[in-house]
């Protein structure tokens, strides 16, 4: 039996755990190939037109898999940390997948509620493993292997002090690290002589410290991370500027985008550029904007003496 995993959305966070779960109960995981132009187009055609770009991309990956597998695994991710909630799109993702009707193989959707007691949500995974033919012992083993690979919750990508000309690239991992979706943003920044720094390179501790300065708590976990990291960059002036990457129709993204812009306007901050991606985003337009933004940053860093450089006075 083959079970498909779409390489989209939260696969970029939890994919390793899900793959190892399937592996250890002897089921072959089939992961869809990297996003291509066709995947985006077929997703945009089949998904509801008002869903966000990542959900459309996810739909494209699902359709990509449908001929190749006997079932698809779309876990229902409820929360990432205590006190946080997931975006509604993650909550309803399996239901949206099932509504595509006869076009898809059965959708397996065990609950994943990391803030909840472990015994409670993993029960659904154990049951799923047994339904897929594993023994009770193998099922427990598979669950514990999945939990193990979830432990370092975020992939540590190129940690360490950035060198050269650091520019913050803030956005969801599934947008920023998907080459097709972000139109190769990270590489472009690099090829223009800057060093892209992403949000998961900012230590949790610094993120938390910045979040404490907000009047109202943000309850979306990934957005917490993004806001905390961006504020950290700005207030410590540890990067030259920030590119905030958001997808059109992203709900949490629209709110924190507004929040970041407001925070930046309230005190001396580093320059910020917002980029909104959708399925129509064209490479040339993005390229020009990034080029212009980086040119501006370089101009500032050349002309403004270090003491006059915008530096946040925040905590």
């Amino acid at each position: 039996m083959k079970v498909g995993l779409p390489r989209a959305l939260l696969f970029h966070h939890y994919g390793e755990g899900w793959t190892s779960f399937l592996d250890s109960i002897g089921i072959e995981p089939v992961i869809s190939a990297s996003t291509t132009g066709e995947v985006v187009v077929s997703g945009a055609v089949h998904a509801d037109n008002e869903t966000c770009l990542p959900v459309k991309v996810f739909t494209g990956h699902l359709l990509e898999l449908r001929e190749k597998v006997d079932a698809v695994l779309v876990p229902r991710v409820i929360s990432q940390h205590r006190g946080t909630k997931a975006c509604p799109k993650y909550l309803g993702l399996p239901d949206m997948a099932r509504s595509m009707g006869g076009e898809l193989p059965p959708v397996l959707s065990p609950l994943m509620d990391l803030a909840d007691r472990r015994g409670r949500w993993t029960e659904e995974w154990r049951r799923l493993a047994r339904d897929l033919g594993a023994t009770g012992k193998a099922a427990a083993e598979a669950v514990s292997r999945m939990l193990d690979s979830l432990r370092p919750l975020e992939p540590q990508r190129s940690a360490g002090e950035p060198t050269g000309f650091p520019v913050g690239v803030a956005g969801h991992l599934y947008n920023v690290y998907d080459e097709r979706v972000s139109l190769g943003l990270l590489d472009r920044v690099r090829s223009m002589g800057a060093e892209p720094v992403t949000v998961e390179q900012v230590p949790r501790r610094d993120v938390r410290r910045q979040l404490r300065t907000l009047d109202r708590k943000i309850r979306w976990d990934f957005e917490n991370r993004i806001v905390g990291a961006v504020l950290h960059w700005s207030r410590t002036a540890s990067v030259e500027g920030v590119v905030y990457v958001n997808s059109f129709a992203c709900g949490p993204g629209s709110m924190i985008g507004a929040l970041i812009e407001d925070e930046f306007s309230r005190r001396p901050s580093i320059p910020l550029m917002s980029v909104t991606l959708d399925e129509h985003s064209a490479e040339a337009g993005l390229l020009t904007r990034i080029e212009a933004f980086l040119d501006m940053l370089k101009h500032i860093s050349r002309t403004a003496p270090p003491g006059r450089r915008p530096r946040g006075g925040g905590p």
Binding site: A47, D48, E50, T51, C52, R76, I78, K85, A86, C87, P88, K89, L91, G92, P94, D95, M96, R98, S99, G101, S109, L111, D215, R216, K217, I218, R219, W220, N246, F248, A249, C250, G251, P252, G253, S254, M255, I256, G257, A258, L259, E261, D262, S265, T276
Partner: protein, 373 residues
């Protein structure tokens, strides 16, 4: 202290009632208008959803007419509404307005903030904390009674034998309810409303459609945004049921006016949506599935452009519509929505519902004829 809350279903009625009970000043929110939307669109960030733009415009208009304390309800749900109030505060501050914003979350989520908000109102109110909570419960009860009146009116309006009879019964019931203060008086007003509606002469023989109205709170409940859908449908001989009532939203554990408790919502929405999806997506899917199972002729679904929970609901409605052969029209509303386009689509939906009805009747007649022969 001049308090103001947004205009949404019976919220305005409840808030005014509560302020009267507590002896607090209240400023009526101006009716929604083109100007409200215009101000909101100018001030709000481009990508936030339509209700937020409207609420910002509406808050500006309320501040202009003398409000100094804005009360918002937020809650920590997964939908973006949970961060509305904060962004609204920042925008209005930036524009130079001076005001106080009290954001109420569910007391279960943040008991301390809830308590502090109540404390902020106490010095000006004529009750103590316990008295205040008691008055809140009474105001909610009164809101529920008002919503029940609305519910009856929308169910009967299309069937009245004499034009205007339902609206008159509703107006009289509302008047009696407005004067009610104690629990007994509110209940009495409820009994009177039932009697008034019971007296309305109905034309039971008139062929009519049964149509459900579901969607996001603001656009599904506020006539300005949904083309006054309740009256529009009534004029086309449709008895209407609606999924959301403001008093239901403030009632923990269920939706009494709709007639669903949480467990019923879960079982009605299954297998289409099997988990809470934020906003009112879950209850809307439950209500729509229920309408479909009860053989309704059509459902109209209003939601703000890119609304997170309602877009999930919309995706799922495609499946429900297919399984039950019941047309569901999803209309997305924002500052660009044109009235003419909306009317054309609604008319098409009603026509479709009528022709479905006739086809089903014909099919039934065929079957009967075949059985007789």
């Amino acid at each position: 202290m001049n308090i103001n809350v947004p205009r949404c279903g019976s919220l305005q009625f409840m808030a005014r009632d509560l302020c009267d009970r507590l002896g607090l000043g209240y400023v009526e929110t101006p009716e929604y208008s083109e100007r409200t939307v215009e101000i909101g669109v100018t001030l709000a960030p481009e990508l936030v959803c339509f209700p937020m733009k409207v609420l910002i415009g509406s808050a500006v208009e309320a501040l202009e007419s003398g409000a100094d304390t804005l009360v918002m309800v937020a809650g920590y749900g997964p939908c973006r509404f949970n961060y509305f109030a904060e962004i609204q505060k920042r925008i209005l501050e930036r524009e130079g307005y001076r005001f106080r914003l009290l954001t109420f979350d569910s007391p279960r989520d943040t008991p301390r903030e809830f308590y502090n908000n109540l404390r902020a109102l106490l010095p000006e109110s004529r009750t103590g904390l316990v008295g205040m909570l008691r008055q809140v419960a009474l105001a909610l009860r009164k809101g529920r009674a008002l919503d029940e009146i609305e519910k009856r009116a929308m169910a009967l309006r299309a069937l009245e034998a004499e034009e205007g009879a339902v609206d008159q019964a509703a107006a009289e019931s509302r008047e009696a309810l407005s004067a009610a203060i104690s629990k007994a008086e509110i209940e009495e007003a409820g009994v009177l409303a039932r009697r008034l509606f019971g007296r309305v002469a109905l034309d039971d023989e008139r062929p009519h459609l049964r149509v459900g109205v579901v969607g996001e709170m603001l656009v599904s409940m506020e006539p300005y945004f949904n083309f006054d859908i309740l009256n529009w449908l009534a004029r086309r001989d449709a008895a209407v049921e609606r999924s959301l009532y403001t008093s239901d939203i403030f009632t923990p554990g269920g939706h009494p006016v709709l007639g669903f408790d949480d467990r019923m919502i879960e079982s009605a929405a299954s297998p289409y949506v099997c988990h809470e999806i934020g906003g009112h997506g879950h209850v809307n899917v439950a209500a729509t599935a229920d309408y479909a199972r009860r053989g309704f002729d059509a459902v109209v679904h209003f939601f703000p452009f890119t609304c997170l929970p309602e877009v999930i609901a919309k995706t799922v409605f495609v499946r429900i519509a297919g399984e039950f052969e019941m047309p569901i029209l999803s209309i997305s509303i924002d500052e660009q929505t044109g009235r003419a386009g909306m009317q054309t689509r609604l008319e098409a939906l009603v026509d479709l519902a009528w022709s479905n009805r006739e086809r089903k009747l014909a099919r039934g007649a065929h079957a009967r004829a075949a059985a007789g022969a």
